[in-house]
Protein backbone atom coordinates (compact mmCIF):
# COMPACT_ATOMS: atom_id res chain seq x y z
CA UNK A 1 0.00 0.00 0.00
CA UNK A 2 2.80 2.32 0.88
CA UNK A 3 4.42 1.44 -2.33
CA UNK A 4 1.72 2.87 -4.51
CA UNK A 5 1.74 6.12 -2.61
CA UNK A 6 5.51 6.46 -2.45
CA UNK A 7 5.88 9.20 -5.01
CA UNK A 8 3.64 11.58 -3.15
CA UNK A 9 4.67 10.59 0.36
CA UNK A 10 8.12 12.01 -0.03
CA UNK A 11 7.27 15.67 -0.62
CA UNK A 12 4.23 15.38 1.63
CA UNK A 13 6.25 14.27 4.62
CA UNK A 14 8.37 17.37 4.23
CA UNK A 15 5.25 19.52 3.95
CA UNK A 16 3.86 18.03 7.12
CA UNK A 17 7.09 18.65 8.92
CA UNK A 18 7.15 22.21 7.68
CA UNK A 19 3.73 22.78 9.20
CA UNK A 20 4.30 20.86 12.40
CA UNK A 21 7.59 22.43 13.31
CA UNK A 22 6.26 25.93 14.01
CA UNK A 23 3.13 24.51 15.63
CA UNK A 24 4.81 22.19 18.06
CA UNK A 25 8.09 24.01 18.18
CA UNK A 26 6.65 27.19 19.57
CA UNK A 27 5.15 25.22 22.35
CA UNK A 28 8.16 23.05 23.00
CA UNK A 29 11.37 24.07 21.27
CA UNK A 30 13.27 20.89 21.93
CA UNK A 31 10.88 18.93 19.75
CA UNK A 32 12.14 20.67 16.63
CA UNK A 33 15.08 18.37 16.06
CA UNK A 34 13.21 15.10 16.36
CA UNK A 35 10.68 16.42 13.88
CA UNK A 36 13.35 17.52 11.44
CA UNK A 37 15.39 14.37 11.61
CA UNK A 38 12.29 12.25 11.66
CA UNK A 39 10.98 13.85 8.52
CA UNK A 40 14.24 13.72 6.60
CA UNK A 41 15.03 10.25 7.83
CA UNK A 42 11.60 9.02 6.87
CA UNK A 43 11.86 10.62 3.45
CA UNK A 44 15.30 9.12 2.94
CA UNK A 45 14.08 5.70 3.92
CA UNK A 46 11.15 6.06 1.53
CA UNK A 47 13.41 7.13 -1.31
CA UNK A 48 15.76 4.20 -0.83
CA UNK A 49 12.79 1.87 -0.72
CA UNK A 50 11.36 3.56 -3.77
CA UNK A 51 14.61 3.23 -5.68
CA UNK A 52 14.90 -0.44 -4.93
CA UNK A 53 11.30 -1.09 -6.04
CA UNK A 54 11.72 0.95 -9.18
CA UNK A 55 14.88 -0.87 -10.15
CA UNK A 56 13.22 -4.25 -9.82
CA UNK A 57 9.61 -3.63 -10.76
CA UNK A 58 9.60 -0.54 -12.92
CA UNK A 59 8.16 2.91 -12.47
CA UNK A 60 5.61 3.76 -9.80
CA UNK A 61 2.76 6.07 -10.73
CA UNK A 62 0.50 7.91 -8.36
CA UNK A 63 -2.50 9.96 -9.40
CA UNK A 64 -3.33 12.89 -7.22
CA UNK A 65 -6.95 12.69 -6.16
CA UNK A 66 -7.51 9.65 -8.29
CA UNK A 67 -7.78 11.74 -11.47
CA UNK A 68 -6.25 9.94 -14.41
CA UNK A 69 -3.60 11.75 -16.39
CA UNK A 70 -3.47 13.70 -18.63
CA UNK A 71 -6.43 15.38 -16.95
CA UNK A 72 -5.10 14.76 -13.46
CA UNK A 73 -1.74 15.43 -11.94
CA UNK A 74 0.51 12.44 -11.75
CA UNK A 75 3.53 11.73 -9.58
CA UNK A 76 6.06 9.28 -10.98
CA UNK A 77 9.02 7.48 -9.53
CA UNK A 78 11.08 6.24 -12.44
CA UNK A 79 14.79 5.42 -12.32
CA UNK A 80 15.88 9.02 -12.84
CA UNK A 81 13.51 10.61 -10.33
CA UNK A 82 14.05 7.96 -7.68
CA UNK A 83 17.81 8.35 -8.09
CA UNK A 84 17.51 12.13 -7.69
CA UNK A 85 15.23 11.80 -4.67
CA UNK A 86 17.73 9.50 -2.95
CA UNK A 87 20.50 12.02 -3.62
CA UNK A 88 18.42 14.93 -2.30
CA UNK A 89 17.19 13.26 0.86
CA UNK A 90 20.49 11.55 1.61
CA UNK A 91 22.52 14.72 1.32
CA UNK A 92 19.87 16.69 3.19
CA UNK A 93 19.87 14.21 6.05
CA UNK A 94 23.59 14.48 6.63
CA UNK A 95 23.67 18.25 6.15
CA UNK A 96 20.79 18.80 8.56
CA UNK A 97 22.47 16.64 11.19
CA UNK A 98 25.51 18.86 10.78
CA UNK A 99 23.46 22.03 10.84
CA UNK A 100 22.25 21.52 14.37
CA UNK A 101 25.34 23.03 15.99
CA UNK A 102 25.86 25.62 13.30
CA UNK A 103 22.34 27.02 13.51
CA UNK A 104 22.53 27.10 17.27
CA UNK A 105 25.71 29.08 16.98
CA UNK A 106 24.78 31.47 14.20
CA UNK A 107 21.01 31.88 14.41
CA UNK A 108 19.80 30.67 17.77
CA UNK A 109 16.65 32.76 17.94
CA UNK A 110 15.54 31.83 14.45
CA UNK A 111 15.82 28.10 14.89
CA UNK A 112 12.20 27.15 14.39
CA UNK A 113 11.45 29.27 11.33
CA UNK A 114 14.78 28.19 9.85
CA UNK A 115 14.02 24.51 10.02
CA UNK A 116 10.46 24.99 8.91
CA UNK A 117 11.64 26.81 5.80
CA UNK A 118 14.33 24.19 5.25
CA UNK A 119 11.59 21.56 5.23
CA UNK A 120 9.65 23.61 2.71
CA UNK A 121 12.76 23.87 0.59
CA UNK A 122 13.18 20.13 0.58
CA UNK A 123 9.49 19.63 -0.10
CA UNK A 124 9.85 21.87 -3.13
CA UNK A 125 12.91 20.04 -4.41
CA UNK A 126 11.44 16.58 -3.94
CA UNK A 127 8.17 17.70 -5.45
CA UNK A 128 9.97 19.02 -8.53
CA UNK A 129 11.62 15.68 -8.96
CA UNK A 130 8.66 13.36 -8.53
CA UNK A 131 5.98 15.30 -10.34
CA UNK A 132 4.86 14.27 -13.77
CA UNK A 133 3.01 17.47 -14.52
CA UNK A 134 4.92 20.43 -15.82
CA UNK A 135 2.83 23.12 -14.18
CA UNK A 136 3.03 21.29 -10.87
CA UNK A 137 6.75 21.42 -11.43
CA UNK A 138 6.54 25.21 -11.69
CA UNK A 139 4.67 25.38 -8.41
CA UNK A 140 7.25 23.26 -6.61
CA UNK A 141 10.00 25.20 -8.31
CA UNK A 142 8.68 28.39 -6.82
CA UNK A 143 8.18 26.75 -3.42
CA UNK A 144 11.80 25.71 -3.31
CA UNK A 145 12.99 29.01 -4.73
CA UNK A 146 11.12 31.14 -2.22
CA UNK A 147 12.30 29.03 0.67
CA UNK A 148 15.77 29.23 -0.79
CA UNK A 149 15.68 33.01 -0.83
CA UNK A 150 14.61 33.00 2.78
CA UNK A 151 17.28 30.51 3.80
CA UNK A 152 19.93 32.69 2.23
CA UNK A 153 18.65 35.94 3.69
CA UNK A 154 19.04 34.91 7.34
CA UNK A 155 22.77 35.19 7.09
CA UNK A 156 25.04 38.12 7.65
CA UNK A 157 24.27 41.70 6.80
CA UNK A 158 24.83 41.53 3.07
CA UNK A 159 22.93 38.34 2.57
CA UNK A 160 19.60 40.14 2.13
CA UNK A 161 20.95 41.94 -0.89
CA UNK A 162 22.28 38.70 -2.31
CA UNK A 163 18.93 37.07 -1.65
CA UNK A 164 17.07 39.92 -3.33
CA UNK A 165 19.25 39.71 -6.40
CA UNK A 166 18.75 35.96 -6.46
CA UNK A 167 15.01 36.57 -6.13
CA UNK A 168 14.91 38.81 -9.15
CA UNK A 169 16.97 36.52 -11.32
CA UNK A 170 15.29 33.38 -10.08
CA UNK A 171 11.86 34.77 -10.76
CA UNK A 172 12.91 35.69 -14.28
CA UNK A 173 14.04 32.13 -14.76
CA UNK A 174 10.90 30.58 -13.37
CA UNK A 175 8.73 32.98 -15.33
CA UNK A 176 10.46 32.16 -18.58
CA UNK A 177 9.88 28.52 -17.80
CA UNK A 178 6.21 29.29 -17.21
CA UNK A 179 5.97 31.25 -20.43
CA UNK A 180 7.56 28.45 -22.39
CA UNK A 181 5.18 26.01 -20.79
CA UNK A 182 2.32 28.26 -21.81
CA UNK A 183 3.43 28.07 -25.43
CA UNK A 184 3.53 24.31 -25.26
CA UNK A 185 0.13 24.15 -23.60
CA UNK A 186 -1.44 26.29 -26.28
CA UNK A 187 -0.48 23.92 -29.05
CA UNK A 188 -0.84 20.62 -27.25
CA UNK A 189 -3.49 21.15 -24.60
CA UNK A 190 -1.66 18.98 -22.16
CA UNK A 191 0.64 19.58 -19.24
CA UNK A 192 1.51 16.00 -18.44
CA UNK A 193 5.10 14.97 -19.13
CA UNK A 194 4.36 11.62 -20.68
CA UNK A 195 1.46 12.96 -22.67
CA UNK A 196 3.48 15.81 -24.10
CA UNK A 197 6.17 13.34 -25.09
CA UNK A 198 3.58 11.59 -27.24
CA UNK A 199 2.02 14.67 -28.79
CA UNK A 200 5.02 16.85 -29.45
CA UNK A 201 6.87 14.76 -32.02
CA UNK A 202 4.09 15.55 -34.50
CA UNK A 203 4.55 19.28 -34.19
CA UNK A 204 8.24 19.63 -33.54
CA UNK A 205 8.80 22.18 -36.23
CA UNK A 206 6.06 24.61 -35.31
CA UNK A 207 7.47 27.97 -34.26
CA UNK A 208 5.39 27.88 -31.08
CA UNK A 209 6.99 24.66 -29.98
CA UNK A 210 10.45 25.85 -30.81
CA UNK A 211 10.01 29.09 -28.90
CA UNK A 212 8.41 27.26 -26.01
CA UNK A 213 11.31 24.87 -25.86
CA UNK A 214 13.89 27.62 -25.95
CA UNK A 215 12.11 29.62 -23.27
CA UNK A 216 11.82 26.62 -20.99
CA UNK A 217 15.45 25.65 -21.41
CA UNK A 218 16.54 29.25 -20.94
CA UNK A 219 14.51 29.67 -17.78
CA UNK A 220 15.84 26.47 -16.29
CA UNK A 221 19.38 27.48 -17.20
CA UNK A 222 19.09 30.49 -14.95
CA UNK A 223 18.07 28.31 -12.03
CA UNK A 224 20.84 25.89 -12.92
CA UNK A 225 23.43 28.67 -12.95
CA UNK A 226 24.64 27.69 -16.37
CA UNK A 227 27.21 30.19 -17.57
CA UNK A 228 26.59 33.04 -18.36
CA UNK A 229 23.38 33.04 -16.35
CA UNK A 230 25.16 32.20 -13.12
CA UNK A 231 25.46 35.74 -11.77
CA UNK A 232 23.31 35.15 -8.71
CA UNK A 233 25.31 32.20 -7.47
CA UNK A 234 28.58 33.50 -6.03
CA UNK A 235 27.02 36.06 -3.72
CA UNK A 236 24.15 33.81 -2.74
CA UNK A 237 26.36 30.89 -1.73
CA UNK A 238 28.99 33.01 -0.06
CA UNK A 239 26.84 35.31 2.04
CA UNK A 240 24.32 32.70 3.13
CA UNK A 241 24.79 31.21 6.58
CA UNK A 242 26.95 28.09 6.61
CA UNK A 243 24.04 25.78 7.22
CA UNK A 244 22.09 27.18 4.27
CA UNK A 245 24.92 27.08 1.79
CA UNK A 246 25.62 23.50 2.78
CA UNK A 247 21.99 22.66 2.13
CA UNK A 248 21.42 24.65 -1.06
CA UNK A 249 24.74 24.27 -2.84
CA UNK A 250 24.90 20.51 -3.28
CA UNK A 251 21.30 19.98 -4.35
CA UNK A 252 19.68 23.22 -5.47
CA UNK A 253 21.22 23.57 -8.90
CA UNK A 254 21.23 19.79 -9.40
CA UNK A 255 17.46 19.67 -9.33
CA UNK A 256 17.37 22.40 -11.97
CA UNK A 257 19.75 20.25 -13.99
CA UNK A 258 17.31 17.39 -13.50
CA UNK A 259 14.52 19.54 -14.90
CA UNK A 260 16.69 20.33 -17.90
CA UNK A 261 17.36 16.63 -18.43
CA UNK A 262 13.66 15.86 -18.20
CA UNK A 263 12.70 18.50 -20.70
CA UNK A 264 15.45 17.83 -23.15
CA UNK A 265 15.53 14.06 -23.10
CA UNK A 266 12.16 12.89 -21.92
CA UNK A 267 9.58 15.46 -22.96
CA UNK A 268 11.33 16.14 -26.21
CA UNK A 269 13.30 13.48 -27.95
CA UNK A 270 17.09 13.68 -27.75
CA UNK A 271 17.55 14.21 -31.44
CA UNK A 272 15.34 17.28 -31.25
CA UNK A 273 17.76 19.33 -29.29
CA UNK A 274 20.76 17.71 -30.82
CA UNK A 275 20.05 17.56 -34.54
CA UNK A 276 16.93 19.56 -35.25
CA UNK A 277 17.60 22.62 -33.21
CA UNK A 278 21.31 22.47 -32.45
CA UNK A 279 20.60 23.70 -28.96
CA UNK A 280 22.88 20.92 -27.77
CA UNK A 281 25.83 22.65 -29.35
CA UNK A 282 25.03 25.90 -27.60
CA UNK A 283 24.70 24.09 -24.29
CA UNK A 284 28.06 22.40 -24.71
CA UNK A 285 29.82 25.61 -25.63
CA UNK A 286 28.39 27.63 -22.75
CA UNK A 287 29.09 24.75 -20.38
CA UNK A 288 32.69 24.57 -21.53
CA UNK A 289 32.99 28.32 -21.10
CA UNK A 290 31.44 27.97 -17.66
CA UNK A 291 33.92 25.28 -16.68
CA UNK A 292 36.86 27.45 -17.58
CA UNK A 293 35.33 30.62 -16.17
CA UNK A 294 34.39 29.00 -12.87
CA UNK A 295 37.79 27.38 -12.42
CA UNK A 296 39.70 30.54 -13.23
CA UNK A 297 37.56 32.73 -11.00
CA UNK A 298 37.88 30.21 -8.19
CA UNK A 299 41.65 30.57 -8.35
CA UNK A 300 41.32 34.28 -7.68
CA UNK A 301 39.22 34.02 -4.55
CA UNK A 302 40.44 34.53 -1.04
CA UNK A 303 37.36 33.41 0.79
CA UNK A 304 36.78 29.68 0.89
CA UNK A 305 33.04 29.78 0.36
CA UNK A 306 33.31 32.10 -2.61
CA UNK A 307 35.96 29.84 -4.09
CA UNK A 308 33.60 26.90 -3.67
CA UNK A 309 30.78 28.90 -5.23
CA UNK A 310 32.74 29.59 -8.41
CA UNK A 311 33.88 26.01 -8.37
CA UNK A 312 30.20 25.02 -8.37
CA UNK A 313 29.66 27.07 -11.52
CA UNK A 314 32.40 25.03 -13.13
CA UNK A 315 30.98 21.74 -11.91
CA UNK A 316 27.52 22.58 -13.24
CA UNK A 317 29.34 23.10 -16.50
CA UNK A 318 30.41 19.44 -16.42
CA UNK A 319 26.81 18.36 -16.10
CA UNK A 320 25.71 20.70 -18.86
CA UNK A 321 28.55 19.48 -21.05
CA UNK A 322 27.56 15.87 -20.52
CA UNK A 323 23.96 16.72 -21.33
CA UNK A 324 24.85 18.66 -24.42
CA UNK A 325 27.11 15.97 -25.83
CA UNK A 326 24.05 13.74 -25.75
CA UNK A 327 25.56 10.31 -26.08
CA UNK A 328 25.18 7.50 -23.54
CA UNK A 329 28.66 7.80 -22.08
CA UNK A 330 28.49 11.56 -21.65
CA UNK A 331 25.05 11.30 -20.07
CA UNK A 332 26.35 8.64 -17.70
CA UNK A 333 29.06 11.06 -16.72
CA UNK A 334 26.57 13.90 -16.25
CA UNK A 335 24.15 11.88 -14.08
CA UNK A 336 26.99 10.34 -12.09
CA UNK A 337 28.41 13.80 -11.57
CA UNK A 338 25.11 14.95 -10.07
CA UNK A 339 25.66 12.44 -7.29
CA UNK A 340 29.41 12.89 -7.05
CA UNK A 341 29.30 16.64 -6.98
CA UNK A 342 26.51 16.64 -4.41
CA UNK A 343 28.75 14.63 -2.11
CA UNK A 344 31.89 16.61 -2.87
CA UNK A 345 30.32 20.05 -2.48
CA UNK A 346 28.40 19.02 0.61
CA UNK A 347 31.64 17.80 2.19
CA UNK A 348 33.45 20.99 1.22
CA UNK A 349 30.73 23.31 2.50
CA UNK A 350 30.51 21.32 5.71
CA UNK A 351 34.26 21.79 6.12
CA UNK A 352 33.78 25.52 5.57
CA UNK A 353 31.07 25.45 8.23
CA UNK A 354 33.38 23.60 10.62
CA UNK A 355 36.09 26.15 10.05
CA UNK A 356 33.75 29.06 10.63
CA UNK A 357 32.52 27.49 13.82
CA UNK A 358 35.92 26.84 15.30
CA UNK A 359 38.16 29.48 13.79
CA UNK A 360 35.55 32.13 13.12
CA UNK A 361 36.33 32.71 9.48
CA UNK A 362 37.03 30.92 6.25
CA UNK A 363 39.46 33.33 4.65
CA UNK A 364 42.15 31.34 2.90
CA UNK A 365 44.97 33.78 3.35
CA UNK A 366 44.47 33.58 7.08
CA UNK A 367 44.69 29.80 7.26
CA UNK A 368 47.80 28.44 8.81
CA UNK A 369 49.12 25.07 9.69
CA UNK A 370 47.70 25.14 13.18
CA UNK A 371 44.54 23.92 11.46
CA UNK A 372 46.29 20.69 10.66
CA UNK A 373 46.74 20.02 14.33
CA UNK A 374 43.53 21.47 15.72
CA UNK A 375 41.12 20.05 13.16
CA UNK A 376 42.83 17.02 11.64
CA UNK A 377 39.73 15.11 10.72
CA UNK A 378 38.05 18.06 9.09
CA UNK A 379 41.13 18.80 7.04
CA UNK A 380 41.50 15.14 6.13
CA UNK A 381 37.95 15.18 4.79
CA UNK A 382 38.78 18.37 2.93
CA UNK A 383 41.82 16.70 1.37
CA UNK A 384 39.79 13.76 0.14
CA UNK A 385 37.15 16.05 -1.33
CA UNK A 386 39.87 18.18 -2.93
CA UNK A 387 41.52 15.14 -4.50
CA UNK A 388 38.14 14.11 -5.85
CA UNK A 389 37.47 17.55 -7.33
CA UNK A 390 40.88 17.42 -9.01
CA UNK A 391 40.08 13.99 -10.36
CA UNK A 392 42.59 11.65 -8.73
CA UNK A 393 41.51 8.03 -8.87
CA UNK A 394 40.09 6.13 -7.12
CA UNK A 395 37.92 8.97 -5.81
CA UNK A 396 34.57 9.69 -7.37
CA UNK A 397 35.57 12.79 -9.29
CA UNK A 398 37.91 10.83 -11.56
CA UNK A 399 35.16 8.58 -12.81
CA UNK A 400 32.63 11.23 -13.76
CA UNK A 401 35.41 12.92 -15.71
CA UNK A 402 36.35 9.59 -17.31
CA UNK A 403 32.85 9.05 -18.66
CA UNK A 404 32.61 12.64 -19.84
CA UNK A 405 35.96 12.29 -21.63
CA UNK A 406 34.87 9.06 -23.28
CA UNK A 407 31.69 10.82 -24.32
CA UNK A 408 33.66 13.68 -25.80
CA UNK A 409 35.97 11.34 -27.69
CA UNK A 410 32.93 9.47 -28.96
CA UNK A 411 31.69 12.70 -30.51
CA UNK A 412 35.18 13.56 -31.68
CA UNK A 413 34.86 16.82 -29.81
CA UNK A 414 38.43 17.05 -28.65
CA UNK A 415 38.11 20.63 -27.52
CA UNK A 416 35.76 19.54 -24.75
CA UNK A 417 38.09 16.75 -23.70
CA UNK A 418 40.82 19.36 -23.43
CA UNK A 419 38.52 21.64 -21.40
CA UNK A 420 37.65 18.88 -18.95
CA UNK A 421 41.26 17.84 -18.50
CA UNK A 422 42.65 21.33 -18.15
CA UNK A 423 39.99 22.15 -15.59
CA UNK A 424 41.40 19.28 -13.51
CA UNK A 425 44.70 21.11 -13.47
CA UNK A 426 43.02 24.42 -12.63
CA UNK A 427 41.16 22.73 -9.79
CA UNK A 428 44.50 21.41 -8.55
CA UNK A 429 45.82 24.96 -8.38
CA UNK A 430 43.15 26.38 -6.13
CA UNK A 431 42.76 23.35 -3.95
CA UNK A 432 46.44 22.82 -3.38
CA UNK A 433 46.70 26.47 -2.42
CA UNK A 434 44.47 25.74 0.55
CA UNK A 435 46.17 22.42 1.30
CA UNK A 436 49.57 24.09 1.29
CA UNK A 437 48.34 26.69 3.75
CA UNK A 438 46.89 24.12 6.07
CA UNK A 439 49.47 21.38 5.98
CA UNK A 440 52.73 23.20 5.44
CA UNK A 441 54.51 25.61 7.65
CA UNK A 442 54.10 29.18 6.47
CA UNK A 443 57.04 31.05 5.07
CA UNK A 444 57.59 33.31 8.09
CA UNK A 445 57.92 30.53 10.58
CA UNK A 446 60.15 28.49 8.30
CA UNK A 447 62.77 31.19 8.21
CA UNK A 448 62.66 31.55 11.93
CA UNK A 449 62.60 27.90 12.92
CA UNK A 450 65.12 26.10 10.83
CA UNK A 451 63.89 22.70 9.80
CA UNK A 452 66.44 20.90 11.91
CA UNK A 453 65.39 22.25 15.22
CA UNK A 454 61.77 21.27 15.30
CA UNK A 455 60.91 18.46 17.55
CA UNK A 456 58.07 16.09 17.93
CA UNK A 457 57.02 18.05 20.97
CA UNK A 458 55.62 20.75 18.77
CA UNK A 459 52.83 18.42 17.78
CA UNK A 460 51.87 17.96 21.36
CA UNK A 461 51.88 21.63 22.23
CA UNK A 462 48.84 22.59 20.13
CA UNK A 463 45.70 21.06 21.46
CA UNK A 464 43.10 19.30 19.40
CA UNK A 465 40.15 21.59 18.82
CA UNK A 466 38.04 19.58 16.46
CA UNK A 467 34.34 20.16 15.99
CA UNK A 468 31.80 18.08 17.82
CA UNK A 469 30.61 14.67 16.74
CA UNK A 470 27.35 15.83 15.19
CA UNK A 471 29.33 18.11 12.91
CA UNK A 472 32.26 15.84 12.28
CA UNK A 473 30.38 12.66 11.50
CA UNK A 474 28.53 13.98 8.43
CA UNK A 475 31.75 15.51 7.12
CA UNK A 476 33.59 12.22 7.46
CA UNK A 477 30.68 10.23 6.06
CA UNK A 478 30.66 12.39 2.95
CA UNK A 479 34.43 11.97 2.58
CA UNK A 480 34.22 8.21 2.91
CA UNK A 481 31.27 8.27 0.54
CA UNK A 482 33.36 10.07 -2.05
CA UNK A 483 35.95 7.29 -2.00
CA UNK A 484 33.34 4.53 -2.01
CA UNK A 485 31.40 6.14 -4.85
CA UNK A 486 34.61 6.14 -6.82
CA UNK A 487 35.59 2.58 -6.17
CA UNK A 488 32.10 1.16 -6.72
CA UNK A 489 30.97 3.45 -9.47
CA UNK A 490 30.66 0.51 -11.89
CA UNK A 491 27.95 -0.94 -9.69
CA UNK A 492 26.13 2.37 -9.70
CA UNK A 493 26.42 2.77 -13.44
CA UNK A 494 25.36 -0.76 -14.26
CA UNK A 495 22.49 -1.01 -11.82
CA UNK A 496 21.04 2.46 -11.82
CA UNK A 497 22.36 4.85 -14.38
CA UNK A 498 22.06 2.53 -17.33
CA UNK A 499 18.35 2.43 -16.62
CA UNK A 500 18.14 6.19 -16.57
CA UNK A 501 19.59 6.84 -19.99
CA UNK A 502 16.72 6.94 -22.47
CA UNK A 503 16.84 4.50 -25.30
CA UNK A 504 16.73 7.07 -28.04
CA UNK A 505 20.31 8.15 -27.52
Amino acid sequence: MIEQNLPVLIPVSFLFAALLIPLIGNWKQSSTYPLVFGAVGFAFFLSIYGLSRVLTDGAIHYQLGGWIPPIGIEYVLDPLSSFMVVVITGVALLVLVHSKSVVELELPEKLIPYYSIAMLFLAGLCGMVVTGDLFNLYVFLEISSLSGYALIAVGEKRSSVAAFRYLLLGTIGASFYLLGLGFLYIVTGSLNLADLAKILPHIYLEPTVIVGFVLMVGGVSIKMALFPLHGWLPDAYTLAPSASSALIAPIGTKVAAYVMIRIVLFVFEPNYFRDTLHVADIITWVSAAGILFGSIMAMAQDELKRMLAYSSVAQIGYIGLGLGMANPLALTGAVLHVLNHAFMKACLFLVAGNLRTKVGHSTISEFDDSLRKTMPWTMAAFSIAALSMIGIPPTAGFFSKWYLILGGIENSEWIFVAVILSSSLLNAVYFFRVLEKVYLRSKDTVDVHHAHNDHVKENQAVKRNEVGFSMLAPTIIFAIGIVLLGIFNAVLVNEVINLIIPAGI
Binding site: K157, I172, G182, Y185, I186
Partner: protein
Protein backbone atom coordinates in the same frame (compact mmCIF):
# COMPACT_ATOMS: atom_id res chain seq x y z
CA UNK B 1 0.52 42.06 -42.33
CA UNK B 2 -1.66 44.61 -40.63
CA UNK B 3 -4.14 41.85 -40.16
CA UNK B 4 -1.50 39.85 -38.36
CA UNK B 5 -0.68 42.68 -35.97
CA UNK B 6 -4.26 43.65 -35.32
CA UNK B 7 -5.44 40.09 -35.05
CA UNK B 8 -2.95 39.39 -32.27
CA UNK B 9 -3.19 42.71 -30.47
CA UNK B 10 -3.48 40.97 -27.12
CA UNK B 11 -0.14 39.32 -27.56
CA UNK B 12 1.54 42.52 -28.65
CA UNK B 13 0.23 44.16 -25.53
CA UNK B 14 1.53 41.31 -23.42
CA UNK B 15 4.90 41.49 -25.11
CA UNK B 16 5.09 45.20 -24.37
CA UNK B 17 4.32 44.56 -20.73
CA UNK B 18 6.95 41.86 -20.60
CA UNK B 19 9.59 44.08 -22.07
CA UNK B 20 8.57 46.92 -19.77
CA UNK B 21 8.93 44.64 -16.82
CA UNK B 22 12.35 43.46 -17.96
CA UNK B 23 13.42 47.00 -18.58
CA UNK B 24 12.36 47.94 -15.10
CA UNK B 25 14.21 45.06 -13.55
CA UNK B 26 17.42 45.64 -15.40
CA UNK B 27 17.63 49.37 -15.88
CA UNK B 28 16.12 50.98 -12.82
CA UNK B 29 18.39 51.74 -9.92
CA UNK B 30 15.88 51.69 -7.13
CA UNK B 31 15.22 48.28 -5.69
CA UNK B 32 11.50 48.91 -5.31
CA UNK B 33 11.29 49.87 -8.95
CA UNK B 34 13.09 46.67 -9.84
CA UNK B 35 10.55 44.79 -7.83
CA UNK B 36 7.72 46.57 -9.61
CA UNK B 37 9.34 45.64 -12.89
CA UNK B 38 9.39 42.04 -11.79
CA UNK B 39 5.73 42.19 -10.85
CA UNK B 40 4.83 43.64 -14.23
CA UNK B 41 6.88 40.90 -15.86
CA UNK B 42 5.08 38.18 -13.96
CA UNK B 43 1.71 39.79 -14.63
CA UNK B 44 2.35 39.82 -18.35
CA UNK B 45 2.85 36.09 -18.30
CA UNK B 46 -0.34 35.63 -16.34
CA UNK B 47 -2.16 37.73 -18.90
CA UNK B 48 -0.65 35.56 -21.62
CA UNK B 49 -2.23 32.43 -20.22
CA UNK B 50 -5.54 34.13 -19.64
CA UNK B 51 -5.55 35.54 -23.15
CA UNK B 52 -4.81 32.11 -24.55
CA UNK B 53 -7.89 30.74 -22.84
CA UNK B 54 -10.34 33.02 -24.57
CA UNK B 55 -12.51 32.04 -27.49
CA UNK B 56 -14.77 33.91 -29.86
CA UNK B 57 -18.45 33.79 -28.90
CA UNK B 58 -17.86 31.82 -25.76
CA UNK B 59 -18.89 32.62 -22.25
CA UNK B 60 -17.34 32.35 -18.84
CA UNK B 61 -16.76 28.80 -17.66
CA UNK B 62 -19.56 28.84 -15.13
CA UNK B 63 -22.35 26.39 -15.66
CA UNK B 64 -25.11 28.08 -17.64
CA UNK B 65 -28.35 26.09 -17.77
CA UNK B 66 -29.22 27.56 -21.16
CA UNK B 67 -26.13 26.07 -22.74
CA UNK B 68 -25.82 22.87 -20.82
CA UNK B 69 -22.80 20.67 -20.49
CA UNK B 70 -22.61 18.91 -23.85
CA UNK B 71 -21.71 22.04 -25.76
CA UNK B 72 -18.40 22.56 -24.04
CA UNK B 73 -17.10 24.65 -26.87
CA UNK B 74 -19.39 27.47 -25.81
CA UNK B 75 -17.38 27.96 -22.65
CA UNK B 76 -13.91 29.39 -22.65
CA UNK B 77 -11.10 27.16 -21.45
CA UNK B 78 -11.10 27.17 -17.67
CA UNK B 79 -7.77 25.40 -17.19
CA UNK B 80 -5.44 28.32 -17.83
CA UNK B 81 -7.53 30.38 -15.45
CA UNK B 82 -7.03 27.88 -12.69
CA UNK B 83 -3.36 27.61 -13.48
CA UNK B 84 -3.07 31.34 -13.25
CA UNK B 85 -4.86 31.44 -9.94
CA UNK B 86 -2.00 29.35 -8.67
CA UNK B 87 0.52 31.53 -10.45
CA UNK B 88 -1.00 34.68 -8.97
CA UNK B 89 -0.70 33.19 -5.52
CA UNK B 90 2.90 32.31 -6.25
CA UNK B 91 3.45 35.86 -7.43
CA UNK B 92 1.92 37.26 -4.27
CA UNK B 93 4.15 35.07 -2.14
CA UNK B 94 7.16 36.20 -4.13
CA UNK B 95 6.22 39.84 -3.64
CA UNK B 96 5.81 39.17 0.06
CA UNK B 97 9.24 37.65 0.37
CA UNK B 98 10.75 40.39 -1.77
CA UNK B 99 9.20 43.14 0.32
CA UNK B 100 10.41 41.46 3.51
CA UNK B 101 13.89 41.40 2.03
CA UNK B 102 13.62 45.06 1.08
CA UNK B 103 12.57 45.98 4.59
CA UNK B 104 15.54 44.06 5.95
CA UNK B 105 17.89 45.77 3.50
CA UNK B 106 16.50 49.17 4.38
CA UNK B 107 16.88 48.51 8.08
CA UNK B 108 20.50 47.62 7.66
CA UNK B 109 21.63 50.10 5.04
CA UNK B 110 18.98 52.86 5.11
CA UNK B 111 18.82 53.09 1.36
CA UNK B 112 17.18 51.30 -1.47
CA UNK B 113 19.12 52.87 -4.30
CA UNK B 114 21.45 50.33 -5.79
CA UNK B 115 24.59 52.44 -6.30
CA UNK B 116 24.39 53.84 -2.78
CA UNK B 117 23.71 50.39 -1.46
CA UNK B 118 26.75 48.94 -3.16
CA UNK B 119 28.85 51.70 -1.65
CA UNK B 120 27.52 51.07 1.83
CA UNK B 121 28.05 47.37 1.52
CA UNK B 122 31.78 47.67 1.19
Amino acid sequence: MLDFILGHYAYWFILTLLLLGLYGMLMKKNLVKKLIGMIIFQTSIILFYVASASKWNATVPVYDPSIGIDQASQYINPLPHTLMLTAIVVGVATIGVALALLISIYRQYHTLEEPVLLERMK
